[in-house]
Subunit: 158 residues, 2 copies
Amino acid sequence: MESNILSGETERLSASLEDYLEAMLFVILEKKGVRAKDIADRLSVSRPSVTSALQVLAAKRLINYAPYDVITLTDEGEKQAEKILSKHTVLQEFFTEVLLIEPEKAEAVACKIEHIADDALVERLRLFSRFMKENAESPEEWKKEFMRYCREHKMPKK
Amino acid sequence: MESNILSGETERLSASLEDYLEAMLFVILEKKGVRAKDIADRLSVSRPSVTSALQVLAAKRLINYAPYDVITLTDEGEKQAEKILSKHTVLQEFFTEVLLIEPEKAEAVACKIEHIADDALVERLRLFSRFMKENAESPEEWKKEFMRYCREHKMPKK
DNA sequence: CGGAAAAGTTAGACATGGCTTACAATCTTC
DNA sequence: GAAGATTGTAAGCCATGTCTAACTTTTCCG
């Protein structure tokens, strides 16, 4: 009820805020630090949009942020960012390794579904991908068959 | 650029509008017609929310709507509603028949993902579910094995 | 028929999350 | 060290989608 922008409570993050958090971790992992600009570029949003997101994330104690200062993730923020990133990875792998979808498309869909799929579903999906990899009699065999199956049942139009 | 609430253009529907459309079709399929009340109940939103959604859908020529009058789907509206419903079904089936997730959970997730997954992905998923059903040497065998696999790799906590 | 209940609508508020425009701070480079 | 470029912030707007409160219309009966 009383939770607003200033409360530091741990409600579920919106898809949008998860995107910002994930983007921050991603950039941090490949450079030394993050600048608002990096986030804006990565998410294709304007710089002002980044600023307001950062203010909200700071209020939730997920990032250390002060105007014009360095941005870092708090422990909690890092934990959450890592969870999102891991969901993304699991989804991406399922789409490419099991459904045999092109990586770019898989990437795009994973980006959206990662915010929706709960932990249990993603874990199950992770297990399924592993299961198909490890427990198939001939790991590459079913993929060939599935590809053939897809060709045979190709959509007629559009 | 010039498209607004009044234009009948065929932009992509928002997740929310898709929900309304889908709910209408669902109700229609099990009763003779739809009332705004039915939609409100089914989607757990207020009656005014339904009214405004209906106005938007009417502007997009997806429903026939006039204040206090009967609500019906146009041909285009029905087409779109059916597509959404079919995505829902495909997802639901994949979650229950392949991932072996409990129907209620599957339902909840399908409801959200149906708005995100594009046609190609859903089609691929449909083929995959069918493939696993038809082409497994022993259709029930891999499910047993997967269940065992899941038990063995059960998450330690939470 | 007539009035109460149910259903639908309008008006107005609020939250989210994006944008642009304009200004402020920082960095770069001579 | 100062000018210009880059980066960051503030203010204010818009769209979406929800809500409540209050009003209107329709429906249902007694």
